[in-house]
Symmetry: C2
Amino acid sequence: MLELAILGLLQEAPMHGYELRKELATKLGTLRAAISYGTLYPTLKRLKLAGWISEAETSSDIIPPMTSKRGRVVYKITAEGKERFADLLTQTGPETYDDAGFGVHFTFFSRTDRATRLRILEGRRRRVEERREGLREVLARAADRLDAYTLELQRHGLDACEREVRWLEELITNERSGRTPAFRNRAEITPEPPRPQSDRP
Amino acid sequence: MLELAILGLLQEAPMHGYELRKELATKLGTLRAAISYGTLYPTLKRLKLAGWISEAETSSDIIPPMTSKRGRVVYKITAEGKERFADLLTQTGPETYDDAGFGVHFTFFSRTDRATRLRILEGRRRRVEERREGLREVLARAADRLDAYTLELQRHGLDACEREVRWLEELITNERSGRTPAFRNRAEITPEPPRPQSDRP
DNA sequence: TTGCGATGTATCGGGCCGATACATCGGGAC
DNA sequence: GTCCCGATGTATCGGCCCGATACATCGCAA
């Protein structure tokens, strides 16, 4: 999943590790506080080895913000990397539907086609519904075996599931009717015009 | 965290791996679907090596449900294990406040004292509030940099944070006033009488 | 009788995390 | 002036946990 995230961010602009981590934190802020360096740097190495990314010239090229040339390593995505990104974004496996996988895919929804978006949204809905049913089962069947705290936790979990399913339903409906997800009218958000789809470059 | 969970369950009754996994799934259903065997069995081995648990006699001893004596390995908690459990339950570190850690601690709240419960609830609240503030920051500052889907994801995440904080506030209030958490009147749940506290046997 | 699903234990490779180490830079304290 | 701290930056290591896989038995149904 981190692979998909890195490829996605590098498609927007070349970056070095530290930057990547900060971008990851704001764009995928819903998922985790920040990615660990102990994951990030080995992954970058792996992606470079696989040929999906490569080091950009460290001269005074793309990134202005920092003044001097310390040991920064700026990465950019390769042509094969773009292909890989498109594949990862479109392919769906079981991991696509758990929290992390779904979050990353959702973040890059504007770079995919409507069919893929619907498939992923519906898969996620199925996943959350299963979890919800499991919790209902427990609350119905095993309620007398469990203490008050455990029950309260299960109820809170059930609540969250129901809420997410409703959210997903809304998104699915909107997706089917061809609308962009800026459907809640909130004052603080100026709705963006729908982006042109780039279907696998 | 799995260590705490296993110790907690074995304190209720001796069990073998397969059972442990099922119990884990129902009691901690909020956290994950089920624990993986690839984690469970090595952990059992580790706990046994550490002396927190030991193998129970495989004769026809404690567990009646299954009829015959296949290669089942039944574990029970040791005296040192009980001590270890109480320590783990009371000690709080940063991991105590992320999803998994908080969930496991919460599940065993009825086996701890009110002061510890309050400390953990407040720590978790602080954690979720931080996350919430982070999301608000992003939505306020970087909204124009992000596309509609990413924004929607962040809003959904923010929503979940706000909801959890409210839930925690409620729990904290109840805890302070000495009530048990069965405070929501829901028809399907018969409120249990508060359990007697066993403070570190 | 054949085979399938539940029960049951166990290992292996890999992803991700937290802790740690090391190094440079800018700015505020003194 | 200089000294130290916090932000920037790259990198490794041990450890937890997961999914895939292997292997074996039992009860039941086609």
